[in-house]
Each structure stands twice: as structure tokens, then as C-alpha cells.
């Protein structure tokens, strides 16, 4: 450890000095090879990327809080806190070993429990750096679910779910592909660069099962059976959270290169282009459908574009990324309407963003991959045939089925034992005080009669003489 640190310092100094003067070669230089510098650079880059992915937890917390009601905001914050905390400790203890342990079989890894002997390390990365990057991904998969189950789930029950997903369900899925399992061994290996399916579809399908087992929130459907809008309490939170997620995604996608090399810039660009085209197309779709450019739906569209390009961000062209993001932007709006209609109440659109667009993005690799490489084959639209496409569909179906069954069993067991849903009274009052003993916004901010702006924004924006008609 110390050795590595000294090298890192030496490497940085040397690089800096070489830039100033090539004659200032130190005696120390002889002990540092170009490989050493590259190794340190890889570790630094992936560690920073891991921290960016962890920042996505803040983005999820803000999006989910913004798109749900104020009376349960402390509860959704708590779920986000525990998705990361419980998830990280569960992944440390067993999840990482199941995902990457070399002693297992094609379906289930083993070895390196509690990050002990035999713990996995990738390429030039150290074990801690590899682990931190992977634990950030595990926590991302877990936290996708909290929004879909918002405003009606017992906290205790959610806590159990969160541990099981991070300890078992997610690691098994990861083992199948990134852990070298059966999806990685198909004749044309399944390719999911940064986790459209591994992370997002897994979270999205678990969210779908959770929302189905819970049932819709009270008041979501009118007496006529039609879905009703239950507006979230802060559009600024939702949009800020979306931007935080966007920034985090620059760790998620380029970081998945797992090395500081020439590919990371291109991956960052495809990621950006898909995000913006997703937002634009979602806005245009909802605008055409309802006459208003809905803000929350547009934010969902940006996330849909990001989820969509996550699998193919290294394999597709810039134009390909724009098309993938655009399709995801349309798809997410259609999916939100679809789930509303079939009585699956997903307050934040997590199933549509992560489940539907995750599956789409993974399949899109089989269409949009520009050319053959060591990790993927050319896609159908570029004349590469259907080999990659078939493998992508196999992966999407297999992971979808596995998560649907295991998460379904998990939620069924929780429902039959500790119970999944709060009482009707608690749900109507909001979960904050019954579940956690504290309102999300204290009494000095939330009086009994909630004030709307008085002479502040709305009044100030009006022209005082507007009403002075004779």
C-alpha cells in the first residue's frame, strides 16, 4: 500500500517535471516505468468514477423526493440512505463474492467473502478500487426500487428487500455477465458495457414486482378506474436530481472502461448525446400528446436516454447514441402511460426509465454496434447480422425472468410475514411521522395550513394596474 502511494507521488512529480524540462530527469525516474504510471492512472480514474457513481445516490434521493408528496419525504430519504448503507455492507459481505468470486460455477460465484483472500480485482485495478466501483453499482440497482414503491411501503419491509437485492439477486445477475458466467460464454457473448440490463433493468424489474405486490396508492385511481395524477411536491428537486444523476453517469459509463485510456472521452460523448436527445424527445412526445411540455416527464426522458445508452456507450457511434436516446425518450413516455393504465402505480417512473429503457438499450447494442471488437459484434443496422442481437435478447429475457421470479418470491414472502404495506390511516397521513417519528419538513416550515406565496413570487410577477379597468 505504502509502496503504491510512493509511486503515485513519484509518478505525478515526474510527469510534471518532464513537461517543464526533459533534462530534469531524476534518479528516481529509473524506478518508475510507464506501466507503473498507467496503473496508478487507472486506479485514480476508476476511484474518482466510483465516487461519481456514489453521487448518483443523491440524484436518486432528489428525484424520488421531488416526484412524491411532502408528507412522505422523510421516508423516501430514509429508504435512499439505507439502500446505500445496507446495500454496501451486504455487497461487501457476500454480494461481491457471489458476483465475482472465481470458485463458483457459471450461475453463481464464490470466493473472496468479506473482501478476504481471493477477492476479485480487475486488470490493473487494486481490490479496493475494483470493489468500490462495483459496490457503487450494486447500490444503484437497489435504490432504483424505492421510488416505485414510494408513499405506501413499510420501512422495515423495504429494508429487508434492500439487503436481499444487494446480497443475492443483483450479484447473481452480475455474475452471469461481468463475473464471467454463462452470458459471457455465449458463442457471441452478451454485451452490456455499463449495465443497462445488469443494473438498470434489474432494478426496474424488481421495482415492477414491488409495485405489483403493493398495489396503487390510495387515490391514484378514480371511482371510474381512470388513473389520476398525484403531483410530486418539488419539481426543482426532481430536475436537480436529474442533473446530479447526469453528472454521476460520467462515472458510471466512462468509468466502466475500468482503465484510464483513450476510449473514455468517446464514451462520455455518447452518454451526453443520448441524455439530451432523450430529454428532447420525451418533451416533444408528452407535448404532442397532452399539449404541455411536462417538466417531470422531460426529466424522466433525460434519465431514459442515459439508461438506454449505458449498454452500448462504447460500441455505438455518436449518431447511434442520439437515436438510442431519442427512442428511449419516446419509449419512456409510452411506458409511463402503459403502467398507469394497467394499474401499476409507479410515482417516479422508475419501471419505465430503468426497466423498459434498460431492456431497450441492451437490445439496441445488437442493432447499433458500429463494428466488430473483442467484446461485441457489429450490429444488424450496420450489416453485422443478428448474432449480437440474439445474444442481447437472450440476456434481457433471462435477467428479466430471473429478477421477476426472485424479487416476486421475495416480496411475496415479505408480504406474508412482516407485511408490505402500511395501514390506510398511515398512508393518508403520510409515512414520515408514523414510520420515523418526524415530519420531513418541520413545523416552522410546514404550518397546519400550508401557505402559498403571498406577496412573494406570484404577486410580484403580476402588474399591479392590470385590474384597474373601469
Amino acid at each position: 500500500m505504502k509502496r503504491t502511494r510512493r509511486w503515485a507521488l513519484g509518478g505525478a512529480l515526474t510527469t510534471g517535471l518532464l513537461l517543464l524540462s526533459s533534462e530534469a530527469a531524476w534518479a528516481q525516474e529509473a524506478t518508475i516505468s510507464a506501466e507503473d504510471v498507467q496503473t496508478n492512472l487507472d486506479n485514480v480514474f476508476v476511484l474518482v468514477a466510483a465516487v461519481l457513481v456514489i453521487l448518483m445516490q443523491a440524484g436518486f434521493a432528489l428525484v424520488e423526493a421531488g416526484l412524491t408528496r411532502a408528507k412522505s419525504v422523510a421516508n423516501i430519504m430514509m429508504k435512499n440512505l439505507m439502500d446505500f448503507s445496507a446495500g454496501a455492507v451486504a455487497f461487501f459481505a457476500v454480494g461481491y463474492a457471489i458476483a465475482f468470486g472465481a470458485d463458483g460455477n457459471d450461475f453463481f460465484g464464490a470466493g473472496g467473502w468479506f473482501l478476504g483472500d481471493g477477492a476479485f480485482q480487475y486488470g490493473t485495478l487494486t481490490v479496493p478500487v475494483t470493489f468500490l466501483f462495483q459496490v457503487a453499482f450494486a447500490a444503484t440497482a437497489a435504490t432504483i426500487v424505492s421510488g416505485a414503491m414510494a408513499e405506501r411501503t413499510r420501512f422495515k419491509s423495504y429494508f429487508i428487500y434492500s439487503i436481499v437485492l444487494s446480497a443475492l439477486i443483483y450479484p447473481v445477475v452480475v455474475h452471469w455477465n461481468w463475473g464471467g458466467g454463462w452470458l459471457a460464454q455465449l458463442s457471441t457473448p452478451f454485451h452490456d458495457f455499463a449495465g443497462s440490463t445488469m443494473v438498470h433493468q434489474t432494478g426496474g424489474v424488481a421495482a415492477l414486482m414491488g409495485a405489483i405486490f403493493l398495489g396503487p396508492r390510495i387515490g391514484k385511481y378514480g371511482p371510474d378506474g381512470k388513473p389520476r395524477a398525484i403531483p410530486g411536491h418539488s419539481i426543482p428537486f426532481a430536475v436537480l436530481g436529474t442533473f446530479v444523476l447526469l453528472v454521476g453517469w460520467y462515472g458510471f459509463n466512462p468509468g466502466s472502461e475500468l482503465a484510464a485510456d483513450g476510449a473514455i472521452g468517446g464514451i462520455a460523448v455518447t452518454t451526453t448525446l443520448a441524455a439530451v436527445s432523450g430529454a428532447i424527445m420525451a418533451m416533444l412526445t408528452i407535448w404532442a400528446k397532452t399539449g404541455k411540455p411536462d417538466v417531470a416527464m422531460t426529466a424522466n426522458g433525460m434519465l431514459a436516454g442515459l439508461v438506454g445508452v449505458t449498454a452500448g456507450c462504447a460500441a455505438v457511434s455518436n449518431v447511434g447514441a442520439i437515436v438510442i436516446g431519442a427512442v428511449a425518450g419516446v419509449l419512456v413516455v409510452a411506458a409511463v402511460f402503459f403502467f398507469d393504465r394497467v394499474r401499476v402505480d409507479d410515482p417516479v417512473g422508475a419501471i419505465s426509465v430503468h426497466g423498459v429503457c434498460g431492456a431497450f438499450g441492451t437490445i439496441a447494442v445488437g442493432l447499433f454496434a458500429t463494428e466488430d471488437s473483442d467484446f461485441w459484434k457489429q450490429g444488424l443496422l450496420y450489416g453485422g447480422g443478428t448474432d449480437q442481437l440474439v445474444s442481447q435478447v437472450i440476456g434481457v429475457v433471462a435477467v428479466g425472468a430471473f429478477v421477476a421470479v426472485t424479487a416476486g418470491i421475495l416480496f411475496a414472502v415479505i408480504k406474508a410475514t412482516v407485511g408490505l404495506r402500511v395501514s390506510e390511516e398511515e398512508e393518508l397521513a403520510g409515512l414520515d411521522v408514523p414510520e420515523h417519528g418526524v415530519p420531513g419538513y418541520g413545523p416552522d416550515i410546514t404550518p397546519v395550513l400550508r401557505p402559498t406565496p403571498l406577496v412573494g413570487d406570484r404577486a410580484a410577477a403580476s402588474v399591479p394596474t392590470a385590474g384597474a379597468t373601469p
Partner: protein, 113 residues
């Protein structure tokens, strides 16, 4: 005789009403945030593509205590300054005040206005 003029107005018309009343010599008024509906029965907004009805629309209640001589004029000023011509402009009404006292001095009736 003392009168209480009460008006329900659109929140963004407050500045206009307040300025109008001040310029006609009204010495004080009280504003309360209220919610309610009238003949239009609320309105609909859209969120994530689904419509929802807002039954109770935020309004402001403006109350002015004045002498009987001023009451009609106050009502007229409110009518002019709160008017947009669109649905939801509100109501104004006048009721009798039985007794009126200024807390600081104990003055009663018109003296207390």
C-alpha cells in the same frame, strides 16, 4: 354605524387592490390566505400527462373595517382593482359590525377605525 367589507380575490391581484384602497384613504386592512371554490368549481392541471382537478383554489381574503359612509366606496374600489373579467375574480360583501374597539386605547366605535 361600522361596516366590515370582506373580499375574496385572486392572489395576484393583491397589490392592485391594496394600492387602490390605500389611495382612497383606507387606514388598515387584513389579508388572509384562504382556499375555496365558486361557480367554476375548481380547475384542472396536468402532471406527467394525467389531468387532476384542483377543487380548492388558493385565494386571498381582504377585510376592511370602515364607516358606513365609506363602505360602498371601498366595495367599488375593490371591484375595480380586483377585476380581470375572467372567471374566478371573487366576491365582495358588506356586513354590520356590532361593536368595535381599538385594543391599545380602548376607544370605541368610529373612533377606533
Amino acid at each position: 354605524m361600522i361596516k366590515l367589507v370582506t373580499a375574496i380575490i385572486k392572489p395576484h391581484m393583491l397589490e392592485s387592490v391594496k394600492d387602490g384602497l390605500k389611495s382612497t384613504g383606507v387606514q388598515g386592512l387584513t389579508v388572509t390566505e384562504v382556499k375555496g371554490f365558486g361557480r367554476q368549481g375548481g380547475h384542472t392541471e396536468t402532471y406527467r400527462g394525467a389531468e387532476y382537478t384542483v377543487d380548492l383554489i388558493p385565494k386571498l381574503k381582504v377585510e376592511v373595517v370602515c364607516s358606513i359612509d365609506d363602505a360602498e366606496r371601498v366595495m367599488d374600489v375593490i371591484r375595480k382593482t380586483a377585476h380581470t373579467g375572467k372567471i374566478g375574480d371573487g366576491k365582495v360583501w358588506i356586513v354590520d359590525v356590532e361593536r368595535l374597539m381599538r385594543v391599545r386605547t380602548g376607544e370605541m366605535g368610529e373612533e377606533a377605525i
